[in-house]
Symmetry: C2
Subunit: 394 residues, 2 copies
């Protein structure tokens, strides 16, 4: 059955990302974005066209579907693609929901959320501003993908409003802290990935097998309150400066859809320890060429690319599990801010405004929208958008 | 119906903690510890004696039961107490399972796990060793309860073996890091609490209302690899030095059972900002007098007490939600290492051995057992134990 896919659409037949949607009076369920429609997988499954237990498609999160494994999830995509391209097809017009009539939900029940710090440009820019311009990178940075545990409960889907947080902070030239709304509210342009397979507690995941554990990727905005963060973060790391909210895009692009855009990562010097090393290369394994933009109120403020990441997803997983820490389906890991080498590619206002000296942090009413895509035309694999509007502090 | 409670038992009728247990061939379900027995709540509920939806008692975690709220959970305890003390009682001998025949499970599905750093003695001891002996406490420490997000997936129940983790670390007097088993494996004597009520994203929980959100407390050991932690933790905080495992006791002692042991916290100087302040006092609100011991291979190495905590649970909750971060039933928060003022009360080997100079870190085969109780005799409210044995690295 033919489905119209407008020119420039993120959601071509090369993509077929998964999400959770509902329409007025119906329950959240699984869908695939195609052009300007959502293919209602729960409704489609009721025709008996899938050869797996399709009850998972009627649940309000994708976890149980994802847990069936890549042969099933990618198999479903291959079937849908063939049903759209060539008859006979079980897809009926009533299985297609106009995207504008749907409400999109957080697509997974997130277990643990980890945020990395894997852009060398971002880490260098931050180190220059806050530490030593001549020794911007800390001694451990080139040896391991630095990361921290983040808060899962406050991750919301794109479109949810973001309330300006209050918090304890130390104003400049003052001796005692105050509690007030943040004055340095920022976005962070990130790409997240969803864990698709459990690993065993006590058993590390080798770097060469790590991609088996990645279900797919989604755009991610790790909102940050820089003044709260600055006062709290020594010695245990970011906490309330981040945990008020993070925004996740509604569509998870399966890793398989990104394979045409795979490319070698940067040369890593010094060469990482063996557990982080691609056995065949001095380069970081498995980067992806995905163009990123960040816009404030529809004005693009940054153009970056996931190819700039120094540490790759397989390295992040290998490091995260190197101590035996286990992964669970639905865990979320994010890249950290993805900055490129030039000023137009910085992924946060902290960097774009040089810590507020050449421009403003986010104002009430501002809407931040992140977008991403790889390829063009019928081969385009887009991530849609993740957006959020700043509401005044309570 | 009479139930035998041996002298010195942790599990008196004043206590009645909740857990999840199973016996050979049966499914995990809810129980209450009484003396040396477990009252099988799922079986008891099948007599129709409870006036709430008792199906929640047959589930493998307590989350849905806890979510019914304190009137229900404390009401169930009051009913059980009266059924044991005075007839008529629906409790039959077959509802009592000898504890030694039961397997105890992780009692909750943990959402987010947060670890605080709320003992001033611990923070001071650590600061003296690793930073400046004359300025051991960092500038923010007396102004806010410092905390960080921890890893939930690797929290295991007491009794699960703890494999010595490998990790990246920088040996002394060496320029490049190595990957090897930790040589500085430590325990941390902590008390955790379980969130019993959801809060709304964007809406802080006032300090005066925070105890409404605490279901109960459980002993907690936040195993730590000090050498991995030291190399990784700047600037984003502890990560793989902690996330290989934490151990939780199987019994959750409801906050209500601890009310007889409530006492004022320490005087806090400087007085905290208003959102962290007990409106009626300069003291930290709502500490508890719970004696703690840590033993290695049955030799007690530390005697501490939760009364030593500088920051209280209500202050931790008020701070955690002050930026709008939401709480969910089943979230876990832990105190951080609870050290007392003298050397015999330090809650970690890091402090007890002065970073390995006066004694050893944990060796393969060592078993660490933490215990806790308040009161004595028929009024005793004990936490049981949380223990773990160190297995060699893989």
């Amino acid at each position: 059955m033919h489905i119209d896919i407008p020119a420039g659409s993120d959601f071509t037949l090369a993509n077929l990302p998964f999400g959770i949607f509902s329409t007025a009076g119906t329950s959240p369920r699984a869908g695939i974005a195609i052009g300007e429609s959502i293919l209602d997988l729960a409704a489609l499954a009721s025709t008996g066209c899938f050869d797996f237990d399709a009850s998972v498609l009627s649940r309000p999160v994708l976890n149980d579907f994802i847990a069936l494994g890549k042969p099933v999830t990618n198999g479903a995509r291959a079937q849908v693609r063939s049903w759209v391209q060539e008859g006979p097809s079980p897809i009926r017009p009533e299985h297609l929901v106009p995207m504008q009539e749907a409400r999109l939900h957080l697509p997974i029940r997130i277990g643990d959320y980890t945020d990395f710090y894997s852009s060398i440009e971002h880490a260098t820019n931050v180190g220059r501003m806050f530490r030593d311009p001549d020794n911007a990178l800390l001694p451990n940075w080139r040896h391991l993908p630095v990361g921290y545990h983040g808060r899962a409960s406050s991750i919301v889907v794109s479109g949810e409003p973001i309330r300006r947080p209050c918090g304890q902070l130390l104003p400049q030239d003052v001796q005692t802290p105050v509690f007030q709304p943040t004055e340095r509210l920022d976005f962070e342009l990130e790409m997240a990935f969803v864990i698709g397979r459990d690993s065993k507690l006590g058993t590390p995941v080798p770097v060469a097998e790590a991609e088996d554990y990645i279900f797919g990727l989604a755009l991610f905005n790790d909102w940050s309150a820089r003044d709260i963060q600055k006062w709290e973060y020594v010695p245990l790391g970011p906490f309330l400066g981040k945990s008020f909210a993070s925004s996740m895009a509604p569509w998870i692009v399966p890793l398989e859809a990104l394979q045409p855009f795979r490319l070698p990562g940067p040369v890593q010097q010094p060469r990482p320890l063996e557990y982080l090393r691609d056995p065949d290369s001095y380069r970081s394994p498995a980067n992806y060429d995905v163009a990123l933009t960040a816009a404030i109120n529809d004005r693009i403020v940054s153009r970056s690319n996931t190819r700039h990441l120094y540490w790759s997803m397989p390295q992040q997983i290998a490091h995260h599990t190197s101590n035996g820490c286990n992964l669970r389906v639905g865990d979320l890991m994010a890249s950290g801010t993805i900055s490129g080498p030039d000023a137009g590619s910085y992924g946060s206002l902290l960097e774009l405004t040089q810590n507020g000296t050449t421009g403003k942090f986010l104002q009430d009413g501002d809407t931040v929208t992140l977008s991403a895509h790889a390829g063009e035309g019928a081969a385009r694999v887009g991530f849609g958008q993740v957006s959020g509007r700043i509401e005044p502090a309570q």
